[in-house]
Structure formats: C-alpha cells, structure tokens
C-alpha cells in the first residue's frame, strides 16, 4: 500500500499530539567527543555552546579515553570494520572470545556470551531459559528492555512492588507449583538510582528454590569495591545465576552487551537466543576497545573511586542547597520536580546556565514523579560539580523550590 494521504495524516496527527502533550523529544547535537565538557548545538542552527554534561551514562569517563580510542583504532586496523555476518556463521573472531573470557573473569561468573546490546541480551534470555510451566517474578521498576524480553517468553509473569521483599516472598509462595522460577531485577534502577536488595533476594531465592537474574547495566564497572557490580556490593558473587549488562555505559560507552552467568545457560543462548542467531556480530572496533576498558578497570580502581568521591560530594552539596534529591549512594541522582512542565523548564534554564540535563516525565516515569536525572562521572572535576550545583541553586531559586519537598512543590505547580 502506498504512503497514502490517510496514512500521512495519521502519522502527522500523532506527532502533533505528542507535541501538544509536551512530550516531544528533541535531540541536541553534540559536536565534540562525549565527555564532561561538550560542545552542543541546540536547537538546530543555534550557535554552538560549551556545556557541562550531567546526563550521560559515561560513569567512568572512558567514552573518549585516549587509550580506549587507540585500542579501537588498533582493532579497526587489525580486524577490520564489520563482520558482515552473525556469530555462528562467520562472525566470530579471536577477540570476541577474548572479550567474553575477560568479562567472565571480571564479573566472576562461569561464562559469557556477547550480544549487540544489552537490550538484545534481555530480549533473548527469558525465552531461552523459561517456558510456559515456569514463572518470571520481576521487580515492578525493571528496565523497559526487560519488560520487552519477558513479553517474548511464554512463561507466566508475576511482579512485586519495587524492592519490597515481603511482596516478593508472597509471589514465591504463590508460584510454588511452577517448574522453574526466575527472580528478575535491575541491579541499580535507572530512574531512581537505588540498589536492588540483592543479598535479601538471593536469600529468598535459595529459600524457595528460585533462580536470580540481574540487569547490571547501571552498575558494571563501578558498583562494588572493585566495580564488579551489585553482586560484589552485596557480597553475593556466585549466588546470582544470570547477569545481563552493557558495554554502552561505564564500559566504554559505545554499544554491545552480554549475558554472563551459569555455563549451561550461556551455552543454551549460543544455540537458541534469537538476537544472537539473527543479529550481526559486535564490530571488532568495539570489541578491541572493550578489551582495553576491562584491562584498565581491572588494573586499578582509581576511576571508580573518583566517581564515588564525586557522587558523595554532589549529593551533599545538592542536599545542602535545598534541592529535593532521591537519597542513595549511586551516581544516578534524581532531582525531584514532580511536574512535567517544571522539569522541562528547569532543564531548559540549566542549559542556559551551561549545564546539560534532561527532564524525565510520564510515561518514562510514573505520573507525578517528573524529575531531572543527573548522572555523575569520573570525568567530572570538583569545579564542574560546583558549577552544576550553583546553576541548580540559581534556577531552583527562580522557581522557588529550594528547601521545598514533594507536597509543597506539587501545591505550587501541580502533578
């Protein structure tokens, strides 16, 4: 069928409605490498502006690290640009195997399989592991890609209130008749920045004979004493059955993901995981750079330690300035504004002040939970953080939200 007037007007109307609802996502054009300090053109055609980036997943500041970039060049020179194939046909190089081994060692698991992204790892894992006689028991705030992955599985779906262990236990009791149960959680929740109670989850899993799967995309490389992830933080290494994670955030920031965990599950992914079987291989340039990243963060915890110090400093300063931030210990620091328009207005004013942040609102977060999600990086220096706090203080004063909590902000601006 042609792209008819009917189809055209339908798509145009949909876009118009998205704009009218204030939900239209506008891209800002970064005209420099990803870093703490970036050049941005926004809106299109506007004069380029130097701003501090406080909303990238570049937690360890490795996205443009000279040694990582050099490793990518070397990978390009020695192994080429693309594989033009999927893994099992002729898309596997020695360096793919090398990276899988390094990830296994780093994460402290039995085996690892690479995927083009963590989204695809999450799209694969549930269908491979579970069938209709099994149960998926998921925290209600897991990442959207996990939800999509669960939808592809025939297994029964149960969910428990966010981080509510009593509710999880109820679900485990409710599903006693299922063949296998898999408890599913993010390690660090991407919108709130809080940690899953992985020690309690593993205790419950053992009590009720269930398996545990964690998406550690917002943790791998920097959570835990040596950055292994939430399983290290909670001292449950070896008790988590499956970890999915990304190479696209702290671990270099390009793309790629993996499933890491029990050998039998990883082996089965190689036989049956659809994104593995039908999606092109992670490009050699990404693999070579990722190997360098794992080497860098295995040799020293310097960047992870700096990130921890930066996070603590930012959280303390923001609290002292009177911003309503979600308590926690991770570098995801949500500044709560509750009202979608307010979140957008504050983000726009912050950009004017030279700080790049983005407002998040429904449906990305629940209604009445609008916020600016700031993310701290090891690439930030103290003066960067001071400048961001000063900007938040200035903009916060403009909107009269300093020292105000949820009810007072909602009373002024609505939900």
């Amino acid at each position: 069928m042609a792209y008819s007037e009917k189809a055209k007007s339908f798509y145009d109307d949909t876009l118009k409605n998205i704009r009218q609802d204030g939900l239209f996502k506008e891209e800002r054009f970064i005209e420099s490498p990803q870093a703490a300090n970036i050049k941005v053109e926004f809106p299109l055609g506007a004069q380029q502006k130097q701003v501090l980036n406080f909303c990238a997943n570049n937690y360890l500041g490795l996205s443009s690290h000279p040694e990582v970039v050099k490793a990518a060049h070397d990978g390009l020179d020695s192994r080429g640009y693309g594989m033009s194939s999927v893994r099992f046909i002729c898309g596997t190089q020695d360096i793919h195997h090398e990276l899988e081994d390094k990830l296994t060692k780093f994460l402290g698991t039995e085996d690892t399989i690479l995927f083009p992204s963590c989204m695809e790892a999450n799209a694969a894992i549930f269908e491979v592991m579970l069938d209709k006689e099994d149960a998926m028991i998921s925290d209600r705030l897991v990442h959207a890609s996990i939800v999509d992955g669960m939808r592809l599985s025939k297994a029964q779906l149960f969910n428990y209130k966010h981080n509510n262990m009593a509710h999880l236990e109820e679900k485990l009791q409710e599903t006693q008749n299922c063949r296998f149960r898999l408890i599913i959680t993010d390690g660090v929740f991407s919108m709130d920045g809080d940690l899953a109670k992985l020690d309690e989850i593993c205790n419950l899993a053992e009590k009720y004979d269930a398996m545990v799967m964690v998406d550690d995309s917002h943790a791998s490389g920097f959570i835990g004493k040596t950055g292994r992830g939430t399983h290290e933080h909670f001292n449950v290494m070896g008790r988590v059955d499956v970890i999915t994670t990304t190479l696209g955030k702290a671990l270099g920031g390009a793309t790629g993901g993996c499933v890491s965990g029990r050998k039998g599950i990883v082996d089965l992914c190689r036989q049956r995981a659809r994104p593995y079987l039908f999606s092109n291989t992670v490009p050699p340039v990404v693999v070579a750079a990722s190997i360098k990243v794992i080497d860098l963060i295995s040799d020293t915890t310097e960047r992870r330690d700096k990130l921890e110090r930066n996070t603590k400093y930012f959280r303390e300063k923001m609290t002292k300035a009177g911003l309503d931030i979600k308590e926690g210990e991770t570098p995801i620091v949500p500044v709560m504004l509750y009202n979608a328009k307010l979140a957008q207005d504050v983000a726009r004013d912050m950009y004017t002040e030279g700080i790049y942040v983005i407002g998040f609102f429904f449906p990305v977060v629940a209604q009445g939970q609008a916020r600016i999600r700031t993310q701290i990086s090891a690439d930030h220096e103290i003066e960067h953080i001071d400048k961001a706090v000063a900007a938040f203080t200035k903009v916060g004063a403009k909107y009269n939200i300093l020292g105000k909590k949820r009810d007072e902000i909602i009373a002024m601006y609505g939900m």
């Binding site: 779906l157 969910n159 209130k161 429904f362 629940a366 209604q367 939970q369």
Partner: protein, 84 residues
C-alpha cells in the same frame, strides 16, 4: 454480587500496587492506568489475576489501557467474557 466483585478488584489493586503509606484512595471510578497506579507492565498481572479468578481468557487485543483504566471499565470487560 457485582459490588462484591468490585470490592475484590479494588482490594487486589490496593494490595498489589499501592504501598501502605501511599495515601491514595481507590474506588470504582479511580483512573488506574492514566493516573499511574497500574502501569502497562503491571496490567499484565492484573489481567492474569482476573483470568484466573473468573476462569476466562481475555484476548490481548481487548486488554487495552482504556479497558483497564477503572474498576468500572474492568467490570464491563468481565461482563463480556463471563457471559457464557
């Protein structure tokens, strides 16, 4: 009878989706999906609960956010699939 069913659904929603200290009240016309009490993900478990409780199968194309947006809407859905 239908009042009992409404109460049962409301109790389930309160127990499953609301924290005890949330202060949110739920009645038969409370917006469930568009207010964020039940997100699209949790709607799957609500659908499963109804199917199990009433021994019915609600087709996926009928399980829309609109159909689940209030207890009243859910009652309409139940009427349709418990006819037989």
């Amino acid at each position: 009878m239908s009042e009992d069913i409404k109460k049962m659904i409301i109790d389930y929603i309160k127990k499953e989706y609301l924290e005890e200290d949330s202060g949110v009240t739920v009645n038969e016309s409370t917006k469930l999906i568009s207010s964020g009490i039940v997100d699209s993900f949790s709607m799957v478990s609500l659908k499963m609960f109804l199917e199990k409780k009433f021994s019915i199968k609600i087709p996926d194309d009928k399980a829309t956010p609109e159909a689940f947006d209030s207890v009243n809407n859910i009652m309409n859905l139940l009427k349709e699939y418990t006819k037989s």
